[in-house]
Amino acid sequence: MSQVKTVVGRGVPLVGNDIDTDRIIPARFLRCVTFDGLGAQVFADDRTQMQGQHPFDQPQYQGATLLVVNRNFGCGSSREHAPQAIAKWGIQALVGESFAEIFFGNCVAMGVPCVTAAPADVQVLQEWLAANPQSTATLDLEQKQVQFGESSIPISMGEGARNMFLSGTWDACGQLVAQAEQIQQTAGRLPYLSWSRAS
């Protein structure tokens, strides 16, 4: 389990509000039993339509690890295929005005931080990245800021999720399973387990 305190790298701005998970990974690519091939299919329809002009296709952004987006990114379907596709393309962290809740939770479980910033600050960062695609930016979860060039913007993240990244406990599975005894106790006090049968 690895701690995530900073993500340092080049960034890719993706401007637009309400970019949903159907656009991130169209449903036809969910016909799979592993996440392996998704990196090539991320934003497939948008990229086809933009004929090479989509930021994920533009040469200056290849190799970027920070994705900077706007409002309500990742809304819609719960498909983890969406953040998996973004991560397999190479993204390690996202900065945005706001994220849809299930998308955010999926990213936490994958170890990919999604931090929010004020709309004006996001715009400044997006413009800086467009002007300086070869320069690196630093997302600092401890200091709660993104540094780029001579500037920085404040960022925020819910404390529970932030603690999971800083302490390296974002993969909750092991911790959850370790509480087997308490889980059985909780199950024991639920009145309905005796009268509802799931199978």
Partner: protein, 467 residues
């Protein structure tokens, strides 16, 4: 912070403990899985050498990839067949009940769990599907999760979560004929926006919801997520209990009385405290339809597509994108918009009452020339019941196709897809770009009765003129 609401009571009861991060470890009373979001979760379990902790608390079905015409195995689509086999294998290996095609119990996961009585008040319910909010209609705390979280539930029957705030969304009064549950939720999303519910659970309260059937309440809760709220719920009442009584998985005999007493105790207290309250008047709600590319871009059927000036500055950029994508001009009436395809079905509107309302409109009329119209029942049981009532015959006589149960063209993972720039009148839940299987396809969301009306006239039509 909310206090004394159903959400608070159910959350507290299911809390296993507090994790070092400060998040809650929450027990999940019912876990539903399907073929799309579970295979990778089972693979993760295998990688870690973990077992399913409570196999009897998970139920599986297959819905997203199901062909609604030729269901012969192996499926024509190799990838769909591979997913099907993975689910069959994973459920068998782990001792999980699987409602397969032809079992009589297969269908959209959010249709079959309620109809079998698996969904009950006071439960926590999770599923790797955002429309899990549907089950909140019973007074359950139900929400969608991703695949890593499906893994967590399989391995521990718990999730690491932060508690949501609670907003009471109150609607009072009687809906006029031709206005349905779908219109109520489209209206709420239009008013509160697609991000309005982020961080909240929505408690749907007030006389309008009290008067609704369980199926109508499911339609409303289903789309809570489209308003940004991960879960939505209605307090359980006599309508809930009457629906549940006698269903396969519902309590029987002495346990029934015990259950009802407990279900009543978990209702939100009269003096419950909410983080926010909003109030709507049912009389103001008209048949509502989306014109754009998010479920929040809705208008009453007798309105015109909003001009940029009529919108808040925040909404103009997205509206500009929508005018272009939809090829609809601001200021023009939505009524009369030419339709190509009509789809009745989905976890939002694929239940008996939905099909009955659509059939009322279709009866004795015929689908307009050049329109492809099809009806996809939400489950094998819905299909069987509809056929017993003769709804299939009404639809077929009117020129609709009558299909097998599944998610179908709501998300178009199966062979049912829009072609090119086609525009659909759809009873489903999402009008995102490319949602219905064509990268340039267009979707207008509306009630099933409104879809039937569009099929008959070939254009967007106020269903009230056909009732």
């Amino acid at each position: 912070m909310s206090k004394g609401t159903l959400f608070d009571k159910v959350w507290d009861l299911h809390t296993v403990g507090t994790l070092p991060s400060g998040q809650t470890q929450l027990f999940i009373g019912l876990h539903l899985i399907h073929e799309v979001t579970s295979p990778q979760a089972f693979a993760m379990l295998r990688d870690r050498g973990l077992k399913v902790m409570f196999p009897e608390r998970t139920v599986a079905t297959v819905d997203h990839i199901i062909p609604t015409e030729n269901q012969a195995r192996p499926f024509v689509d190799d990838l769909a067949e591979e997913m099907m086999q993975a689910l069959e294998q994973n459920t068998q290996t782990n001792g999980i009940t699987f409602y397969n095609i032809g079992s009589g119990n297969q269908g959209i996961v959010h249709v079959i769990a309620p109809e079998q009585g698996l969904t009950q008040p006071g439960m926590t319910i999770a599923c790797g599907d955002s429309h899990t909010s549907t089950h909140g209609a019973f007074g359950a705390i139900a929400f969608g999760i991703g695949t890593s979280q499906v893994r967590d539930v399989l391995a521990s029957q718990t999730l690491a979560l932060s508690k949501l705030k609670v907003r009471k969304v109150e609607v009072n009064g009687k809906l006029v004929p031709g206005v349905y549950a779908k219109d109520v939720i489209l209206h709420i999303i239009r008013k509160l926006g697609v991000t309005g519910g982020v961080g909240y659970a929505y408690e749907f309260a007030g006389t309008t919801f009290e008067q609704m059937s369980m199926e109508e309440r499911m339609t409303v809760c289903n789309m809570a997520i489209e308003g940004g709220a991960r879960c939505g719920y209605v307090n359980p009442d006599q309508v809930t209990f009457d629906y549940l009584k006698g269903r396969d998985a519902a309590p029987k005999g002495a346990e029934w009385d015990k259950a009802v007493t407990w279900w009543q105790s978990i209702r939100s207290n009269a003096d419950a405290e909410y983080d926010d309250v909003v109030i709507f008047d049912a009389a103001e709600i008209a048949p509502t339809i989306t014109w754009g590319i998010t479920p929040g871009q809705g208008i009453a059927v007798n309105e015109s597509i909003p001009t940029p000036e009529a919108l808040s500055e925040n909404d103009r950029e997205l509206a500009a994108e929508a005018y272009q994508y939809m090829d609809l001009a601001p200021g023009t009436p939505i009524q009369g918009t030419k339709i190509d395809v009509c789809f009745i079905g989905s976890c939002t509107n694929g239940r008996m009452s939905d099909l009955r309302e659509a059939a009322k409109v279709a009866k004795g009329r015929h689908v307009a020339e050049g329109i492809k119209a099809f009806v996809v029942p939400g489950s094998e049981r819905v299909k069987q019941e509809a056929e017993a009532e003769g709804l299939d015959k009404i639809f077929e006589a009117a020129g609709f196709e009558w299909r097998e149960a599944g998610c179908s063209m709501c998300l178009a993972m199966n062979p049912d897809k829009l072609q090119g720039r086609q525009i659909s009148a759809s009873s489903s839940n999402r009008n995102f770009k490319g949602r219905q299987g064509s990268a340039s396809g267009r979707t207008l969301l509306m009630s099933p009765a409104m879809v039937a009306a569009a099929a008959i006239t070939g254009t967007v039509t106020d269903v009230r003129t056909l009732l």
